[in-house]
């Protein structure tokens, strides 16, 4: 069975919420919409205190090309435009909406009827990309890169295939899995739309084989789409990384930055993004809700919730049986790449794929011990880097060295820290080095 070539680890899967149907979460009393829900320029608020908004009303317009607009997911009144703590653990500009009722913008088609690509012959590539851009769709796997940017290849590059990322290699998370089981038809229309938008004839859906039901269902449904193929993959973390997935599915390697996936002819989109694209293009629905897995060993009902963006995490935890007494750490995202939250009032954003509640015992990190030069981190690194070295030179502020050792190629998957028998905080230091080196490179480019 296919998988990527270099490195990788296999953490315990713990997919506790697998097979639990998608439940719609209740509306929050107050929704908070961060203007920083994507990579790139922040959105600019276009509403002010006292404005009445509906579901689907524009709250913030895109702040540049690499940016995305933000829409209200609730109806009510804007109570203020101020800073709010968000999942990145910093205070940033946000729009607060006090919820009243549930009124939707009339342009949104709320029916469940499936609209196929054949039903809409008027759609051409340009219209599709424009609609995606207007709907504020970003990469739903967690990276939150504005979707339309990936669909507009830079001059000189030509896409050859679309790869749909349905790997969900993060332990615990089952949001994409449940979406595939319940919205397979819509996802396939979404994939067809992406293929039309970038003008390719080949589409692949990569699914890890720990989701046999999803593979079987997608293989059944895909018979109606001769140009799309379902590719079952061997379970291996971090297969959901863009570069790893391209390697696993079409056996091509993306060179070091500044090369991007399109350089090898691949456009990768998450399965959740494909669904959001279907809703945006066919139903005129901007990105206002997403599936989020709320899970953890002590959580009463680990579930997959369809929640409106801006809902505070505290409410989502209530929906799943409340915060367990032995909570040690609450992580936004999965256990490998997610980030611990310092407050439960933080609202969910476009990139919130999961909410993991760890108990005290599993949350506690072991005390770091000296490096024993076992090179397990080198073997586990899916990018072929030397994590022990990168961590060391980063902690010693040797930025030139770090740049030479390709620290910017690190995808921050955490395999090195996971495998380290000395429990060294490798990724902490590498992240520090990576962000510093990237800053230095940006400065250098700006000077030129």
């Amino acid at each position: 069975m296919k998988t990527f070539r270099i490195g990788g680890v296999h953490p315990a899967e713990n997919k506790l919420s697998a097979g639990s149907p998608i439940r719609e979460a209740a509306l929050p009393k107050q929704a908070v919409f961060s203007m920083f829900q994507h990579i790139g320029a922040p959105a600019k608020p276009v509403v002010k205190k006292g404005d009445v908004v509906k579901v689907g009303t524009l709250l913030g317009e895109a702040g540049g090309f690499v940016s995305a607009p933000i829409y209200s997911s609730v109806s009510g009144k804007v109570s203020k435009v101020d800073v709010a703590l968000d999942a990145s653990d910093t205070r940033r500009m946000a729009v607060y909406v006090d919820v009243e009722g549930d009124e939707w913008e009339e342009s949104i088609d709320r029916s469940d009827a499936l609209v196929r690509l054949e039903d809409r012959p008027d759609l051409d590539a340009k219209t599709i990309v424009e609609k995606i851009k207007q709907a504020g769709i970003v990469g739903m796997g967690g990276a939150t890169f504005p979707c339309h940017v990936k669909l507009c290849p830079p001059p000189g590059e030509k896409a050859e295939c679309v790869i749909i990322n349905a790997v969900e290699c993060e332990p615990y998370l089952t949001a994409d899995h449940s979406l595939m089981l319940e919205k397979a038809d819509e996802i396939l229309v979404g994939v067809a739309l992406i293929m039309k938008a970038v003008g390719v004839e080949r589409g692949y859906i990569g699914i890890e084989n720990n989701k046999p039901d999803a593979i079987a269902l997608m293989q059944e449904k895909v018979k109606a789409y001769p140009r799309i193929e379902v590719v079952p993959l061997k379970v291996q973390y971090p297969q959901g990384g863009e570069k790893q997935l391209i390697d696993a599915v079409i056996a091509r390697q993306v060179p070091a930055p500044p090369a991007i996936p399109i350089s090898v002819g691949a456009v990768v989109q998450n399965v959740g993004t494909a669904f959001a694209i279907y809703e945006a293009v066919m139903k005129n629905k901007p990105l206002i809700s997403r599936i989020i897995t709320v899970t953890g060993k002590s959580v009463k009902n680990p579930s997959n919730l369809l929640a409106r963006l801006g809902t505070p995490f505290s409410q989502l935890i209530e929906e799943c049986g409340g915060l367990p007494a032995d909570t040690g750490k609450i992580i936004g995202g999965g256990p490998m790449m997610g980030k611990a939250l310092i407050s439960l009032d933080i609202p969910m954003t476009k990139g919130s794929s999961g909410l993991l509640i760890m108990n005290e015992k599993e949350a506690r990190r072991a005390e770091p011990e000296p490096c024993i030069r076992c090179a397990k981190c080198v073997g586990a690194c899916p990018m072929g880097l030397e994590p022990y070295l990168l961590a060391k030179i980063s902690s010693q502020n040797m930025w030139d060295e770090a740049e030479k050792e390709c620290i910017v190629s690190c995808i921050e998957c955490g395999s090195c820290a996971f495998i380290c028998p000395s429990h060294r905080p490798l990724l902490d230091n590498i992240r520090l080095g990576k962000s510093t080196v990237m800053g230095i490179i940006r400065e250098r480019v700006a000077k030129k």
Binding site: G328, K339, D428
Partner: protein
């Protein structure tokens, strides 16, 4: 016998030839170094702290000699050596040392555990830089001291330590040479170098919080809220300026009257090394409780009680 003789002669000749080659090479490729560099270097403290901006003491010595050719040492200062060393250097180079006020580092944060509770615990790599990169840190103030001790680890003089009880870095003024290594390292820019002041006296705003007043009040009990009261009492000297919701005292203009310390409703301004104030019985009006500043109460901006022990950073399960 013959063998020994031959060996001695051969080695002797080889030795002579080598000596000749080395002698000629040392003459031919000799690099002339200004002897004053060595003299200057001998006076330097040899701490190699880098506070002067040059790579170690010998680098500074060459810079001094080079600057002497330009006729002025005004841009150079050896912080650990202080004025005495600079005067000696100037003497060697036949110049006049310019008067440079000795500086000390101050940690502009008073957010101890009592006034700025640590709601969560950070269990990642123990480094301020790493913790700062992940976001807020353990408290709700994103500007305050992180207490992991990056500054203490770079101080060559043992002048700065993190107090385990308060989790705040503290400077020992008697040991601080003002080299500035800590100020350069602090990822939050809390440490500032200020002139030592007459009799070591100085008045400083001990806060780095740039949030709006309402938020700053929630984050820490001794935060500067940018109310501007200190600016008003200092109108005459104009030593205090208000930045982004944060007051700053210009040490060059400060007349050490300590009015601002009295005026600050938050206790964010502190005067160092002053004798205790005289009791103010004769001015009863000043004893009246100061009205608390009117603040716009912003609801639900920050959750006051964070979950017990969640920590920042990626973890493995």
């Amino acid at each position: 016998m013959n063998v020994i003789l031959i060996a001695v002669i051969v080695l002797g000749v080889v030795g002579l030839v080598s000596a000749l080659v080395l002698f000629l090479a040392s003459k031919k490729f000799a690099v002339w170094e200004d002897p004053r560099i060595k003299q200057v270097s001998d006076f330097l403290p040899q701490a190699n702290c880098g506070g002067c901006g040059y790579p170690g003491c010998s680098g500074f010595a060459s810079a001094c000699v080079k600057a002497a050719e330009g006729g002025s040492l005004s841009d150079l200062n050896c912080a650990p050596g202080g004025q005495a060393v600079m005067e000696q250097i100037a003497g060697i180079l036949g110049l006049q040392a310019s008067a440079a006020a000795p500086k000390v580092a101050v940690v502009r944060c008073q957010g101890t555990c009592d006034v700025r509770p640590h709601g969560v615990e950070f269990d990642g790599a123990h480094s301020c830089k790493v913790q700062n990169m992940t976001g807020m840190g353990e408290t709700l103030c994103q500007y305050g001291c992180l207490g992991e001790g990056d500054c203490a680890s770079v101080c060559l003089f043992g002048a700065i330590t993190v107090n385990p009880a308060t989790r705040i870095a503290e400077v020992d003024e008697s040991k601080c040479t003002g080299c500035g290594a800590c100020a350069k390292t602090c990822p939050r820019g809390i440490i500032e170098l200020i002139p030592q002041g007459p009799k070591n006296r100085k008045v400083v705003v001990l806060c780095n919080n740039k949030d709006k007043g309402a938020l700053a009040t929630k984050e820490c009990k001794v935060s500067c809220i940018g109310c501007g009261k200190c600016v008003k009492v200092c109108e005459k000297f104009e030593a205090i300026t208000l930045g982004t919701n944060l007051a700053h005292i210009d040490p060059d203009k400060c007349k050490m009257c300590r009015k601002c310390e009295e005026a600050c409703p938050r206790g964010a301004i502190k005067a160092f090394n002053f004798p205790p104030r005289k009791p103010k019985a004769e001015v009863p009006a000043a004893e009246a409780p100061k009205p608390t500043p009117k603040l716009e109460v912003v609801k639900e901006t920050v959750q006051s009680e964070a979950p017990p022990t969640n920590k920042v950073e990626t973890t493995k399960e």
